[in-house]
């Protein structure tokens, strides 16, 4: 729960910030890097170009100079000069740093003339782009273009072609091209590019790292705040955010702490209030006991002497005694309820025979049952049903259920049954009397609840009996449920685990009584 929340927080902030920073940096690096690279490559190329053009000029000038002395000499002389020029201008063999020369004829080959077109090192003449040749032909000076040198061997290297026209006596205009290898320049540029890339990646990584650190500075306090707020939510009201600086995070912390203090005060006040209330109920009940004791004893003295009084005074003495009994029960129940509310009710579990307990409750209530004309029918298992529970509480529940069944029985029989399984014991108390509304079955356990406000409560009842019974059942990890229909009686089912501290495994007695359906159909 908390780890996913933290992950989500990191996702939403840190990752977002880092991602956008890195992407923006990448774009920026792309622009700056390519601009830098272009400047570099331009610079390197320009240096090479300047020297290449100068070299070409001097080579062409030299060649032209040598041709100018030839005059109209024999073709062989011219041929040897051409050969010499080509051989001298070019490096001996095709190397990466080499310089090649191409002597190309400008016009068509006239009849009977010797073609002096030649290239060094068997360089393919098509290496010179047509576009460059056109420019060279039209121009008086040197022209240049980038190209790829293709050797007859198939070797291809980047190159720079610089050309100028040259006039060879007797044969006419030729173009002389010097082709310079750019391998070195390209290598330098490659190196520059590699360095730029490495620097870029390194910087990008650094920026990512810095961003992460910065974001952490912001996110960590936020994470801490979230964690502290979470702890606060789970009830640890002493949690506060540490405030170390004077920054925005600190002001967030201050606000949070103020809120926490305010909440804590409120909660404590409410807790206190409810504690005071519980204490009050408990204290009132206790304080009432001493005067009630005196009252009871005084009433007993008066009651035992009632035969000497007027009939009305004698009856008053009886009513007084009865009301003191009722008051006493109410007080007892109130105290019990206040114990449940304060969470101080404790189970005193021991093993006993619940079947025998039921029989004893029925025996104790048989007088009341006879008075009401209700017969109690107990279908026991025929053997002892040993349960580990608080016998005082279980007896209180059973007595209450059976007594209620008798009171509302409408002089019809009351059925009590017990069912057991390995780990669970259930007791059902069924009457066929006036019953109750289906919705009321949920409310019978409410304190001081009356099915019909105009109807009198069971004589002497406190209105707390069933609510205490339910609390008693729950204290055992058990369950107490009610069912009822007007005129069809009621059914109460108590389900308890056989051993203290265990859970009930299943409902052994169906809450809707089977006889209800059989009488319906």
């Amino acid at each position: 729960m908390s780890s996913t929340r933290r992950t989500r927080l990191r996702n939403s902030l840190a990752v977002k910030v880092i991602f956008s920073t890195v992407v923006l940096s990448l774009v920026l690096f792309g622009i700056v890097g390519s601009a830098l690279y272009n400047k570099f490559s331009d610079g390197i190329l320009n240096v090479k170009l300047d020297s290449s053009i100068a070299e070409t000029r001097s080579a062409v000038f030299n060649a032209q100079y040598r041709f100018s002395f030839v005059g109209n000499s024999k073709q062989a002389v011219i041929g040897s000069i051409v050969k010499d020029i080509v051989a001298n201008s070019a490096t001996i063999s095709a190397t990466v740093n080499g310089r090649e020369i191409a002597l190309l004829r400008s016009g068509g080959l006239a009849q009977g003339k010797i073609d002096y077109q030649s290239t060094s090192n068997l360089v393919d003449p098509t290496v010179i782009p047509k576009e460059l040749r056109n420019r060279v032909r039209k121009s008086l000076g040197t022209e240049w273009a980038l190209t790829t040198i293709t050797y007859a061997s198939g070797n291809r290297i980047p190159g720079l072609a610089v050309g100028q026209t040259i006039t060879i006596p007797t044969v006419g205009r030729y173009e002389m091209y010097l082709i310079f290898s750019l391998v070195n320049q390209n290598a330098t540029l490659d190196l520059v590019r590699t360095y730029l890339l490495i620097a870029g990646i390194f910087l990008l990584f650094l920026i990512g790292l810095i961003t992460w650190l910065v974001v952490r500075q912001v996110v960590k306090p936020v994470q801490d705040a979230a964690r502290i707020a979470e702890k606060f939510t789970t009830g640890d009201f002493d949690q506060r955010m540490p405030i170390e600086n004077n920054d925005e995070i600190a002001s967030l912390g201050t606000s949070f702490n103020d809120m926490a203090s305010s909440l804590q005060t409120q909660i404590l006040r409410l807790e206190n209030l409810s504690l005071v209330q519980q204490r009050f109920v408990s204290d009132v009940s206790h304080e009432l006991r001493t005067p009630l004791t005196t009252l009871r004893m005084a009433s007993d003295v008066v009651h035992s002497a009632r035969n000497n009084f007027d009939p009305s005074v004698a009856r008053s003495a009886e009513l007084l005694a009865a009301q003191i009994d009722r008051f006493d029960r109410l007080l007892e129940d109130l105290l019990e309820v206040s114990r449940f509310d304060a969470g101080v009710a404790v189970l005193e579990s021991a093993k006993f025979d619940i079947s025998e307990l039921i029989e004893r409750c029925i025996a104790d209530l048989s007088l009341v049952a006879k008075e009401r004309g209700a017969e109690i029918d107990f279908s026991s298992t025929g053997h002892a049903v040993i349960i580990e529970a608080d016998s005082r509480r279980v007896e209180r529940i059973l007595r209450n259920l059976i007594n209620n069944a008798i009171e509302y029985s409408d002089s019809k029989p009351v059925q009590v049954k017990i069912v057991e399984s390995q780990g669970t014991i259930a007791v059902g108390v069924r009457d066929h009397g006036i019953g109750l509304e289906a919705e009321a079955a949920f409310r019978v356990f409410d304190r001081f609840w009356r099915a019909d406000p105009s109807r009198a409560r069971v004589r002497g009842g406190t209105g707390l009996g069933l609510s205490i019974a339910l609390e008693d059942a729950r204290l055992h990890n058990g369950e107490l449920e009610a069912w009822g229909r007007p005129g069809k009686g009621a059914h109460f089912v108590l389900t308890l685990p056989r051993e203290a501290g265990q859970q009930i495994e299943s409902r052994l007695i169906r809450l809707e009584p089977l006889d209800y359906y059989s009488t319906e159909s």
């Binding site: 005196t294 004893m297 007993d300 004893r360």
Partner: protein
């Protein structure tokens, strides 16, 4: 006449208790403060003390302890709390029985007082031996190798009840009925606390009792008997 000392801080209840007990034929000494009890007690030793827990001066539990230091008189605690802790504290301080206010019936209180005052019906038995203990039921005395052991009347009766039928296992409910006179009370704390106190006085090693033996899940029995 039997003298009952009643200690309660509530003047009205004290007066009413006085009226009821006098009506039952008892003499009464009424005391309203905890710190006055010992003085009155020494001047006019009662046959039974009815003692409230909450008292001004010294609380009832402490008063109970002080009385026990000099007397084995039956003490019945009156408690307005009825919570486990108070009851157990009172019993451990030496009270024989307790009653929770308000009493269901005044007659219940009278019955308790009378039970605590009655003499054990020893029948034909005059003397009993249990292990190395010699009990004189008439003189209400118990000796070990000639040395007297001081027991409260209740502790004595508890021991006699077990010793009269050596080997028989008594359930706590049976003991409650036999010794305390309860019909069916499930408050077994009374029995447990008093057995502990009895063991502390008669057992050589109360942690490993040989005379009053626990039978797990059932109750207690008298062990190591050499009945005469």
């Amino acid at each position: 006449m039997t003298l009952v000392m009643v200690v309660d801080d509530d003047q009205d209840l004290l007066e009413q208790l006085g009226i009821v007990l006098t009506g039952e034929g008892f003499d009464v000494d009424l005391v309203a403060r905890g710190d006055e009890v010992i003085e009155v007690f020494r001047n006019n030793p009662p046959d039974l003390v009815l003692l409230d827990v909450m008292l001004p001066g010294i609380d009832g539990i402490e008063v109970c302890r002080l009385i026990r230091l000099e007397s084995m008189v039956p003490i019945v605690m009156l408690s307005a709390k009825g919570d486990t802790q108070d009851v157990v504290l009172g019993l451990e301080a030496g009270a024989d029985d307790y009653m929770v206010k308000p009493f269901k019936h005044t007659s219940e209180l009278i019955a308790r007082i009378k039970t605590r005052l009655r003499r054990t019906n020893v029948g034909s038995l005059g003397k009993l031996n249990l292990a190395d203990l010699a009990m004189d039921l008439v003189a209400h005395q118990i000796t070990r190798q000639g040395k007297a052991i001081q027991l409260t009347r209740l502790e004595f009766e508890l021991l006699v009840a077990l010793a009269k039928e050596p080997g028989r296992v008594f359930s706590r409910d049976e003991l409650l009925s036999e010794v305390w006179g309860y019909q069916h009370s499930t408050d077994t704390r009374l029995v447990n606390v008093h057995v502990q106190r009895l063991r502390a006085k008669i057992e050589k090693d109360p942690e490993n009792p040989l005379i009053v033996v626990t039978v797990r899940g059932v109750g207690y029995k008298a062990g190591a008997t050499g009945a005469s």
